[in-house]
C-alpha cells in the first residue's frame, strides 16, 4: 500500500482508538478539549525552549567572534613587531575558532527554522482549538444522539490529526534542542578549559604575554633613551615641550570668546 495511505491510516487509527474509549460522545468532546489545551501549553513551552537554546548559541557565537577579532589584532601586532612566528600561531588559533563558528552558524540556522515551524504549528493549533470549542458547544446544545455522533467524530478526527502532527513537531524540536544543549555544553567546557580560547583568557594568553613583553621592552627602551637625553643633552627636550605647550594654548585664545555664548545657550 502507498506510503501516504499507510501514514494516513495510522493517524486515523489513533483517533478511532481514542474515540472508542469514550462512552458518551459528549464526554469525548470535553476530554479532547482538555487535551488540546494541554498540548497548546506544551507547544508554547517548546517554542520557548527552542528560543532559549537559540539565544545561548547566539551568546557563544559572539564570544567566539570576539576571540577571533582579538586573535586577528594580535596577529597584526605580532607581525608589525616582526614576530611572524607569533602571528602564525595567532592565525592558526583564529582559523580553528572559525571552523567552530561556521559549525555553530549552521546549527543556528537549523534552530531558527525549527522555532519558526513550531511557532506556526502553535498558531494553527490555536485556531483549530478555538474552532473546536465553538463546535463543541453547538453540538452539545443541539444534542440528539443519532446525529451528534457523526459530527462529533468528524470534529474529533480533524483535531486529533492536528494534535498528532503538532505532537510530532514538538518531539522533533525537543530532540534538536537536546542535541543543541549537549553541544553548547561541550563548547562551554572547551572554552572553560582554554582549548579554544586560551589566547584571550588572561594569564593563559601566551601570545598576548609575549606581545606585552615586547611592548614593555620597547617602552623601557624609550624611557631609557629619554632619561639619557635629559642627563646629557640637558635643556633641548624641555624647550621643545615648552613650545609645544604654548602652541597648544595659542589657538585656545579664541575659545574664551565662545564660552560665554555656550553659557547663554545652556
Amino acid at each position: 500500500m502507498s506510503v501516504m495511505k499507510r501514514v494516513t491510516m495510522i493517524f486515523r487509527a489513533k483517533a478511532d482508538k481514542a474515540l472508542d474509549r469514550m462512552e458518551d460522545p459528549r464526554e469525548t468532546l470535553d476530554y479532547s478539549y482538555k487535551q488540546q489545551l494541554e498540548l497548546l501549553q506544551k507547544v508554547r513551552r517548546g517554542v520557548a525552549d527552542v528560543a532559549t537554546s537559540r539565544k545561548r548559541l547566539e551568546l557563544q557565537m559572539n564570544q567566539l567572534q570576539q576571540s577571533q577579532n582579538r586573535l586577528d589584532k594580535q596577529a597584526r601586532d605580532a607581525l608589525s613587531a616582526g614576530r611572524e612566528d607569533l602571528a602564525r600561531e595567532a592565525l592558526t588559533r583564529k582559523s580553528g575558532i572559525g571552523t567552530q563558528l561556521a559549525d555553530l552558524e549552521t546549527q543556528y540556522t537549523n534552530l531558527q527554522g525549527e522555532e519558526e515551524k513550531l511557532t506556526l504549528a502553535s498558531q494553527r493549533l490555536q485556531a483549530k482549538v478555538d474552532s473546536f470549542r465553538t463546535r463543541k458547544e453547538t453540538i452539545k446544545a443541539t444534542y440528539t444522539a443519532a446525529e451528534a455522533q457523526t459530527r462529533i467524530n468528524e470534529a474529533f478526527t480533524g483535531i486529533s490529526e492536528e494534535m498528532g502532527d503538532v505532537g510530532l513537531a514538538i518531539q522533533r524540536a525537543e530532540d534538536k534542542t537536546e542535541q543543541m544543549k549537549a553541544r553548547a555544553g561541550a563548547i562551554d567546557e572547551l572554552m572553560a578549559s582554554g582549548a579554544l580560547d586560551d589566547v584571550v583568557s588572561g594569564s593563559r594568553d601566551d601570545i598576548q604575554a609575549e606581545l606585552d613583553r615586547m611592548g614593555s621592552n620597547r617602552d623601557v627602551d624609550l624611557e631609557l633613551e629619554r632619561m639619557k637625553a635629559e642627563l646629557t643633552g640637558g635643556s633641548a627636550p624641555k624647550e621643545l615641550e615648552g613650545s609645544a605647550g604654548q602652541a597648544g594654548s595659542a589657538p585656545a585664545g579664541a575659545q574664551p570668546a565662545e564660552q560665554p555664548q555656550a553659557g547663554d545657550g545652556a
Binding site: S2, R12, K14, A15, Q123, E154, G164
Partner: protein, 92 residues
Amino acid sequence: MIVRILGQGQLAIDSAATDELNALDAKVEAAVNASNEEAFRTAFCALLGRIRELGKPLDDAALEPSDLILPDEDATIEDVRKLLSDDGLIPG
C-alpha cells in the same frame, strides 16, 4: 481531497489529480522498499512539489480530517519507516 503535509498544515486538492499523485506516490513506495535514499528524495520531493502546486491551503481553523497524510521534505526513509512502525512516532 484533503492532504496534510506534516508540520505544514492541510491543502485541498481536486480529486481529478488522484491518479497522478498515486503514480508519484508509487515511486516513493518503491524507493522506500528498496531503501534507496537518493531515489526516495527525488520521488518524494516530486510528490510534495506537485501537491503544493495543485493544493489550496485550508483555513487554520478548519477541522477537516485529511484523506492523505505525508511527512515534509526533511523526512528520510528512516523517518518514514518510524511513522509507519507499530507504535509509530505519532503521540497519543
